[in-house]
């Protein structure tokens, strides 16, 4: 008895008479109590499968072929009313962004009551309290009168999980349920989902971009690329010995948490967009595949029918794809101190005029960075790591301590301090979409720092060309506007802008989070290459421990505004001394065994 079965399921976007395939003949089967992982990068179509299950597709998207059955009933031809009756009852959904998935102007209790009323069950209050208790929320009765904004992201996700499992559904679709959460919370949410699944024998469709997490959670895995399943089978087999080059490349693009540091395999370019998909004839992965041959470009390879199957003509060669040789010197001798911070603190005023309070975002932070050094600041949201970065570049004014930057005390933040800072430290922001002025050309954005000192146009154009080459961007990119670039290209422009005058110190705040792993690998390799070519120190703020391990020599662990541990990366990761560092490291999903 399968809960969910897809047979040659295709979804297409109808646009101006043309039909663009978005999902391409997908076959899936999910049995009760099992977890099926849909993994792949953004644009692969994994969320589209979830939306097809709910039959809530975006405008102009429609099922164009194949079957999708839930407990033996055809979901595609089912009348909307009958389908709606299934939602929230037999099929439940856990969203990606818990903080925005609950209505902000209604209490938790009233949203639950509405749900139970729809399920047609009496005594909402007792049922709600029981449901909230089941997801281990403290004080469930007190929670009823609270609003979503009064809860943390992890608590909201627990509430949503409680709601999803309240009707004891047959199928739960979880679309990146922990992507927006901290890693320690992620571990607990995953545990909770497993517990609820075991309690009700629920089948779970688990959509994620995180291979490591998928390896830990899923029984079976389907790897998607550009709307097609390229590899499918038991999780242990697929991730233990991938047969499709794409799966193998993804694994090699992820930095490891254990073992020796290896160079990352960076797939060239990116997944084809919707438009490009119509013109591709052969294997959709062929343009980026290290194994591609003539045959691959002629016709799409079949997926096969084995238990562990891959859509590749040359699957037997997949294990031969190896990570690139580590060519760059990993340890660079630190030079003179660039930054010396002692007892730095930032206190924000909170509360009202009548009831003043305060919150220490950063307290007693001391650190030093020498030229050429790459130092990481890790911590969870609210740990103060971003505030620390903003203090260093002068976006916030410290309330305690001092900052010595390239030999000058810039704590006071005078006009002269500001000019000194501009020459000596630059910041790369997390979201290039909002960090780049949409009305300016890439070349002008990259050389913004020269604008301030009134450099002649010819010189700026020359520097822009150099930077484009250094960042691995095509020369014509300079004339484009940010909106015409992909996310990875935008982040390169963002980094190029900060490096324009090669400041002695670069502060980078979560610059690879939110990017796909193949793009992340491109950027991390770029950072390491730039390090060998240019002379700058980097303060790398990140929540991703594996990335930090790959990039940085030293690491600072922040917790509740304080630096709780500090040392060489390998040493801290191998033998954490602080309790919090241990929790953080334990919460990380483990590496899968690499062939």
């Amino acid at each position: 008895m399968t809960v969910l079965r897809a047979e040659a399921l295709s979804v297409a976007l109808r646009q101006g008479g043309a039909e663009i395939p978005v999902l391409n003949r997908i076959d899936l089967a999910l049995a009760p109590g099992r977890v099926l992982g849909l993994v792949g990068e953004s644009g692969a179509g994994k969320s589209m499968i979830g939306r097809t299950v709910a039959q809530l597709l975006p405008p102009h998207f429609a099922v164009s072929g194949g079957k999708l059955e839930f407990a033996g009933r055809d979901l595609v031809s089912m009348p909307p009313r009958a389908r709606r009756a299934l939602l929230g009852r037999e099929i439940a959904f856990i969203p990606q962004e818990p903080l925005t998935a609950l209505n902000p102007v209604r209490t938790i209790g009233s949203q639950f009551a509405e749900h139970f009323a729809r399920l047609g069950e009496g005594d909402h209050r007792a049922r709600t309290v029981a449901a909230l208790e089941a997801v281990h929320l403290p004080d469930p009765a007190g929670l009823l009168a609270r609003y979503p904004h009064q809860l943390s992201g992890g608590m909201c996700q627990r509430v949503l999980i409680a709601m999803a499992f309240a009707s004891r559904p047959k199928l739960v679709v979880a679309d990146e349920p922990t992507t927006a959460l901290d890693v320690t919370i992620q571990a607990r949410i995953m545990e909770l989902m497993q517990e609820m699944r075991a309690r009700d024998g629920t089948a779970v469709l688990f959509i994620t971009h995180d291979l490591r997490l998928a390896a830990q959670v899923c029984d079976d895995i389907a790897v998607l690329y550009a709307g097609s399943v390229v590899e499918q089978g038991p999780a242990a087999a697929v991730l233990g010995g991938p047969r499709h080059p794409y799966t193998r490349c993804l694994q090699l693009a992820i930095p490891a948490m254990t073992g020796p540091r290896r160079a990352l395999l960076a797939l060239p370019e990116q997944m084809p967009g919707l438009r490009a998909m119509t013109t591709l004839r052969g294997c959709r992965f062929a343009p980026r595949c290290p194994l591609a041959a003539e045959q691959c470009r002629a016709a799409p390879p079949p997926l096969g029918t084995e238990d562990h199957r891959a859509a590749c003509f040359r699957a037997e060669l997949t294990p031969t794809i190896a990570p690139p040789e580590e060519t760059l010197a990993t340890h660079i001798q630190p030079g003179n101190p660039v930054l010396d911070v002692a007892g730095l603190g930032k206190r924000f005023r909170t509360g009202s005029l009548f009831r003043p309070g305060h919150m220490d975002a950063v307290s007693e932070a001391s650190l030093a960075i020498a030229s050429g050094e790459f130092v990481a600041v890790v911590g969870e949201s609210g740990s103060g790591k971003s505030t620390l970065g903003r203090l260093l570049v002068g976006l916030e004014r410290p309330t305690a301590g001092r900052i010595l930057l390239a030999g000058r005390d810039v704590t006071a933040g005078t006009e002269a301090d500001r000019r000194h800072r501009v020459r000596n430290v630059q910041m790369v922001f997390q979201d290039p979409q909002s960090a780049l002025n949409p009305r300016r050309r890439v070349a002008a954005i990259m050389t913004q720092a020269m604008e301030a000192v009134g450099a002649p146009a010819a010189e700026r154009a020359r520097r822009a060309a150099e930077l484009l080459a250094e960042m691995g961007l095509a020369p014509e990119t300079g004339a484009r506007s940010p909106a015409q670039l992909s996310g990875g290209q935008r982040q390169r422009v963002n980094i190029a802008r900060a490096l324009c005058t090669v400041p002695p110190l670069l502060v980078a705040d979560e610059i690879v989070s939110g990017l796909d792993v193949s793009v992340q690998a491109q950027l991390l390799n770029l950072l390491r290459r730039l390090r060998a070519e240019l002379d700058f120190a980097l303060l790398f703020i990140s929540h991703d421990l594996a990335v930090v391990r790959h990039v940085c020599d030293r690491v600072l662990v922040m917790h509740r505004g304080r630096i709780v541990e500090h040392g060489p990366t390998e040493q801290v990761f191998a033998a954490p001394r602080h309790e919090y560092t241990r929790t953080l490291l334990d919460s990380m999903p483990k590496d899968f065994p690499m062939a």
Partner: protein
Amino acid sequence: MQLLATLGRRLLVVLPILFVVSALLFTALRVLPVDPAAMSMPPTATRDEIEAARRAMGLDQPLPQQYAIWLGHVVHGDFGRSIHLRRDVVELVRQTLPATIELALCAMLVAAVLGLAGGLLLFALRDNPAEPVAETGTTLMMSVPEFLWALLFIFVFGVALQAMPFTGRLDPGMIRPDITGFLLLDALLAGRLDILRSAAAHMVLPAFALGIAFAPPIMRVLRSSLLDVYHEDYIHQARLRGLSETRILLRHALKNAILPTLTLMGVQFGFLFGGSLLVEVIYSYPGLGNLMVDAVRNADLPIIQAVGLTYCVVVLVINSVVDGLYLTLNPRLRAR
């Protein structure tokens, strides 16, 4: 508790605003080339008699001193006597203010009901071929000024169809109960349904004339904030829980989308209150507007000052009320 704190903080801001407005008002009126002393005397008065009147009114003093004297009286609730009507100004304002507030509230109600209904209609018509037609309709509603609506309504409903009364507040011969000054309320309190009916009928045309032009902005804001809200995750999640579209609109989307509309209405009420002046004149409605127009015609400075300040106070009070309302409807603004 927080509501009180907010209102308290508001009050701290209101007093300096009132001080500045009153100073501006006073100075502007004294710069006008009118001589209230001469106007208060019969045409046969001699130059010496006018001079004596001027001294008696304190008009020979330097301007700052005049202001200080006036302010001293105002703080004690004494706005002086009308030069032309020879009556206590506070009494005049007290008699006319409720009428204008009643008119403005009814007009705001018209604007709100039309605006919210129209906003929902526009939202329902999104991506529909009829959408441009509805858009044109709202633009037309908005571009006709209130005095033109007033005249149009008199012509159509008052003169041509003879369906509605269009002068004053009551049918001739009726004696209004005076309890609070708010006629609709007073008629109810006195249990006089005939008066209530007549007062309501008299209110229809002025309220619509004044309120109708304020409805389209509400419609548009509601429509666009509904469109925004429908992109939010919680709407999608509500759908995934299997809730009906009607329920999603009424119980989830509208509760959020109404908030920007409320802010707009608060701002609009200030304009609407000021706009009541012309409508009152056209409908011979005995409110603050008519009092003000007569006072301006007669250069009756004490009345102009008092009415001007009253307008200011009303707008400030409305703003505070809207802020308080906003706080109760939007839990995110309350203390965590």
